[in-house]
Amino acid sequence: MSPITVTVALLVGIIVWVLVARRLTARSWESGSEESDVAAVRMAPARLGLWVFLAVITSLFSLFLSAYSMRSHHGDWSHLTLPDVLWVNTALLVLGSVSMQIARNAVTRGLAQRLKLGLVAGGLFTIGFLAGQLIAWGQLRESGHFAQGSPANAFFYLLTAVHGLHLLGGLWVWGRTMTRLLRGVELVELRLSVELCTVYWHYLLLVWIALFAALTYL
């Protein structure tokens, strides 16, 4: 437990407490507490559901990363030099995220053409990213770095695979949204899907940057 972890945990605790303190200190057994009545959270259920899901995968990836960091601090760690194509992939994923953001802005303002453009570009850049990851795997295998070789190799394949699978899940939802868009569904009805996709894309970009940094520097 480093001091930084403790401080962060404390700060998070304080923020959470301030946010919920009013709800959690209500004296509900007293009558006439009707006025202080705080209703359910005002948010579409799917949006809250996504945020809860993001909390779950945050836990998943931080556990993968702490496993990686615990292992990499052992004396016998042999570092894996990452293929350069990963930088190209990172750029592709950033572009994917930007395109999704363009789509999101377009859907709020009702611009159908730009929405279509943003969504298609977002999907294609993401597919490009995944293809690039496969190329990286291929290069590593050609240079003789198999998953069985060392824990560093195994961790690289594992972390990129898990991240890629999460992107594939995102692409599935993206595909459904695209189908609905092409079938001519009203923009208003697409708004939530596009917004949630965008949040998910940004999130997975952040995860990728964290993974990339950890794989490079740890």
Partner: protein, 586 residues
């Protein structure tokens, strides 16, 4: 005010017409709850049989030749894993969580009914995969429920081939199923509560299930991470957990893995898991005690805060399961401290339960007997937890029957007593029938006294130094003859308790047909699920109009009120309020 989505809708959110859609491929949270509960109880019975076989071997070694040492280890492993995950977790969250959350919060269903349905089917698949490992070559894994590598995947451990892989795959599926259900439970509690149901008016059952779900959502990924990495070690030959090692005289290809890493990951899940099982039990038992003692729960706010505190603390105590793993001794000091701190909110809860009973109008109904029984077993199991939380005490006791006695008392018997209490309590609402009270009481006394006869002597065996996980003790100098006698008596008690569960099953099944018709609120309880227009509640739960909540869940024996309970949806009476605010019941 924005009362959102599902809660607002007046029409039922799904309207199935065929028998298949209504009762099999159903999106109704009540049907899903019953499906979850039935499957969980079924695998629980399998695990009960396994424990019977283990006890036969331990009580009467050299008698039952059909149990060999490998099978014994397989029984231990499967018994533990099934009971902890596939029975208790699934029953509390998938069963009671599904049934109670929408009804107690005043919602028509979960917010994502389709995902809720998938959650059950994936859970069923996980159970089938798990059970299929009994029928593959080599049988199920015998690595112990903690599945520690390297031995879990090495030849020489029973089920090291297919058995362990099927176990890991099944766990992965279970986690997927749980995540789909868990997203539902959390979102429903936060989003779909009816008008007036503030967080601090929720019954403690919902609080316990809610917090346990959050723990599960954050802790199960640790199990997933370790399961995925071990599967890769076992199939692809990676070395996440396997160090350079020779097995059966043969040098394996693995090198550089860390077995200790697995233990950290496993227990980062494993300790919150204890509270994933315990918190719903805490919540439900609070409601049972309050209802059947006709008295408001003592210190409601403190109970909620204690649930939150226990939930938070449960993430920083995991390494107290690893005192003997050879980790850094300073870690041990840190984790012993946090472990002992967690006793504070837990003790607060125990005091509050006892104080709820104090001067209450106690009705010794069957659910109440189980709730009071829980207080006993939980205190006993909890106190031995304080022993084991200290590094110096834990080291000599760690590999003995003391630990077996401790965790069975605190997370085996205690939650299962609450499960029984809860089933007896809500059975009239779920089925519309009453059970036979005499058989219920017989079931309680046999189970309660029987489990004491099983687990109390185990503590003594542990202090004598009798090691756990052994197939047979043989003739060892430090083990006196009395140990063998005790082992025989434990086995007899265990078989009796197992037989007592037949009484329970008989009672539940026969009462479905022959039980008296249940009134809609047989316990005169205040919470919303007892105020539904139909018993059992129909699809959509509430008929044409959603309930509106005006008070907390514990208005029992309010001075001046007509009856000794006021349902949560009863409007506040200004005259009565005037009397109450003069401090009659603060």
């Amino acid at each position: 005010m924005a009362y959102v989505a599902i809660a607002d809708r007046d029409a039922p959110i799904h309207d199935p017409h065929t028998f298949f859609l209504k009762y099999i491929w159903s999106q109704d949270h009540k049907v899903i709850a019953i499906q979850y509960a039935l499957v969980a109880i079924f695998v629980g019975l399998v695990a009960l049989v396994l424990s019977g076989l283990m006890r036969l071997q331990l009580g009467f070694p050299d008698t039952f030749h059909f149990i060999d040492p490998n099978q014994y280890l397989q029984f231990v492993t499967m018994h533990g894993m099934i009971m902890v995950i596939y029975l208790l977790t699934a029953l509390f969250l998938g069963g009671f969580g599904n049934y109670l959350i929408p009804l107690m919060c005043g919602a028509r269903d979960m917010v994502f009914p389709y995902m809720n349905m998938l959650s059950f089917w994936v859970y069923l698949l996980a159970v089938l995969v798990l059970l299929s490992s009994f029928f593959v070559p080599g049988g199920p894994t015998g690595a112990g429920w903690t599945l520690y590598p390297p031995q879990a995947v090495l030849t020489g451990t029973p089920g090291a081939g297919l058995g362990i892989i099927l176990m890991l795959v099944s766990l992965g599926m279970f986690i997927v199923a749980f995540t789909m259900g868990g997203l539902n439970y959390v979102t429903t509690v936060l989003q779909a509560r009816c008008r007036g149901m503030t967080l601090m008016r929720m019954p403690l059952s919902v609080w316990g299930i809610f917090m346990a779900t959050i723990l599960g959502l954050l802790a199960f990924p640790a199990l997933l991470v370790s399961a995925v990495m071990m599967t890769l070690d076992g199939t692809l030959g990676t070395s996440f957990f396997l160090p350079a090692i020779s097995s059966m005289g043969e040098q394996l290809n693995h090198q550089g893995g860390s077995p200790l890493l697995f233990q950290h990951l496993f227990w980062f899940f494993g300790h919150p898991e204890v509270y994933i099982v315990a918190l719903p039990a805490f919540g439900i038992v609070s409601d049972l005690l309050s209802t059947h003692a006709r008295k408001n729960i003592f210190g409601y706010r403190m109970m909620v805060w204690a649930i939150l505190a226990i939930g938070g603390l449960s993430f920083v105590v995991w390494a107290h399961h690893m005192y003997v793993s050879g980790m850094n001794p300073y870690f041990g000091f840190f984790f012993a401290t946090t472990t002992l701190i967690i006793a504070v909110p837990t003790a607060i809860k125990v005091y509050n339960w006892v104080l709820t009973l104090w001067k209450g109008d106690i009705h010794l109904t069957v659910p109440m007997l189980f709730a009071i029984g829980f207080i006993f077993t939980f205190i006993h199991g909890g106190l031995t937890g304080l022993f084991l939380g200290n590094v110096t005490v834990d080291l000599p006791l760690s590999d003995t029957y003391f630990v077996v006695g401790h965790f069975h008392m605190v997370m085996g018997v205690s939650p299962i007593l609450v499960v029984f209490g809860a089933i007896y309590h809500w059975y009239p609402k779920i089925t519309g029938r009453m059970w036979n009270e005499k058989l219920g009481k017989l079931h309680f006394w046999l189970t309660f006294l029987g489990t004491y006869a099983i687990y109390l002597p185990m503590h003594y065996l542990g202090i004598l130094g009798v090691p756990r996980r052994y197939y047979a003790l043989g003739d060892t100098a430090f083990i006196p003859d009395s140990v063998h006698t005790i082992n025989e008596s434990i086995t007899i008690a265990a078989l009796l308790v197992a037989a007592a569960q037949v009484v329970f099953l008989y009672n539940m099944i026969v009462s479905l047909r022959r039980g008296e018709k249940a009134p809609s609120n047989p316990w005169h309880a205040t919470t919303l699920e007892w105020q539904t227009p139909d018993t059992p509640p129909k699809h959509g739960n509430w008929g044409p109009r959603l309930p509106v909540v005006h008070r907390w869940a514990y208005d029992y024996s309010v001075p001046g009120a007509k009856e000794d309970f006021i349902p949560q949806n009863e409007p506040v009476d200004p005259y009565l309020t005037a009397g109450r605010d003069h401090g009659v019941r603060h």
